[in-house]
Symmetry: C2
Subunit: 270 residues, 2 copies
Amino acid sequence: MEEVPFLNGKTRLYGIVGDPIEQVRSPEMVTCEMHKRQLNAVLLPIHVPSAEFEAAMPHILTIQNLDGLIFTIPFKGRAMALTQHIGPQAQAVGAINALARRKDGSWAGEIFDGLGCVEGFRRRGLGLKGQRVMLIGLGGAGSAICAAIAAEQPLSMRIFDLDTARCDRMAGTIKKISPETAVVIGAPSVEDVDVLFNASPVGMLTDPRLPIHATHFDKDLIVFDAIVKPEQTPLLALAESCGCRVVRGREMMRGQISKIVDYFIEQTSV
Amino acid sequence: MEEVPFLNGKTRLYGIVGDPIEQVRSPEMVTCEMHKRQLNAVLLPIHVPSAEFEAAMPHILTIQNLDGLIFTIPFKGRAMALTQHIGPQAQAVGAINALARRKDGSWAGEIFDGLGCVEGFRRRGLGLKGQRVMLIGLGGAGSAICAAIAAEQPLSMRIFDLDTARCDRMAGTIKKISPETAVVIGAPSVEDVDVLFNASPVGMLTDPRLPIHATHFDKDLIVFDAIVKPEQTPLLALAESCGCRVVRGREMMRGQISKIVDYFIEQTSV
């Protein structure tokens, strides 16, 4: 009888939970990563209506062959309530994007947006320890990137967001994670900066703007943009035209996928 | 970025719900059938613990991209409570094995074990209308096969099960479905019988027994065995040695898969 090779009764299930769900890319990418690692597992799109989330999730977690979930909009903060073991990044950010079943049936949660960004740098041989960093944007992904950079113990971090309350909160978070790092809240600038991070939506899709007032960068500046679409943002285009090294949103995404699959495997054996 | 071709954010989800789940074959077979029909859909193993079933299922059904479920042991009877539209076969048998989401969000249920068996006959060019039938075994699959045969309006049905209450109940069911069909409850026999159905577990795996006392069959007898493992049961081996046509458990399974996918597609558009 004809069969597909990637599903059977022993397949372990993972999912990405969001509302809406059709736009997510994790199912094809995370499943591919799992198959490369010889796991009999798939990651599915799971569309839980926002209004049902709190009531439905505890029951969905009773599915015995469900081993892990990724959370996307609008659930990253609300998913915190599902975990009994909160990782340090999630603790700092107040949100998780990965939930993993442990051997004893309890659930561990962590957020990997920022760790994926740092992993993207690591894969390019770029360390952040001792560097002087400018970070623009402290929203969902931005605050996670902020916490992950802080954990690398940079020399200094200048942070900016239009929401000043976010700036104050993340300045405190950096100080907690890395007390030696000098923290400044201030408008985007590359003066005395080694690495520029954009985690704001400026430059997304057809937005032609730069997230910083600049017409030129020093070629030693390293420039990162969290935006995935387009791959070449106005910021990265300017940076490349100045001879700067750039790290792209896709590299962060790839780093994140790898880190999340590591986490799923690791927690299963705890 | 590397991706798998069979999953993305738009993939529609189906599942088979059971406890235990690892032994099921529907995920690889039904998904294959769905892909042949160009559907962006997968059928997953879903292991819901028996004790959690009633509490968990209504919440699992809130997943918006979940369009259908198959139920296996021990849930076929209990799944009836999840449906707002019960098909005629399910009505007769008191169980469903397929649940499908309609456009308005309500759920329709039907049982396809028996309809799959009749479909297996149809694909071989074998009709049951006007035939004289002997059916051995009126358990889960047997009672569904009984109801589906009755719906084909055979001339007569002789039915047997060790549980006499089941015999009485199914005799009544046959009469309701096909008032013209003559019904007899009695020990397995092929006297004045055109088609012999075994839906008992006798002959399963390494069981060497026949479900009927016989050393020879007339070559005009058609013999069906619902057993899937082994493919060649002692009953089918005897039948073939006598020159009889045989219909196998796998043909019923294939017929059932096709009928269930038809049903999922059909209900989605209701």
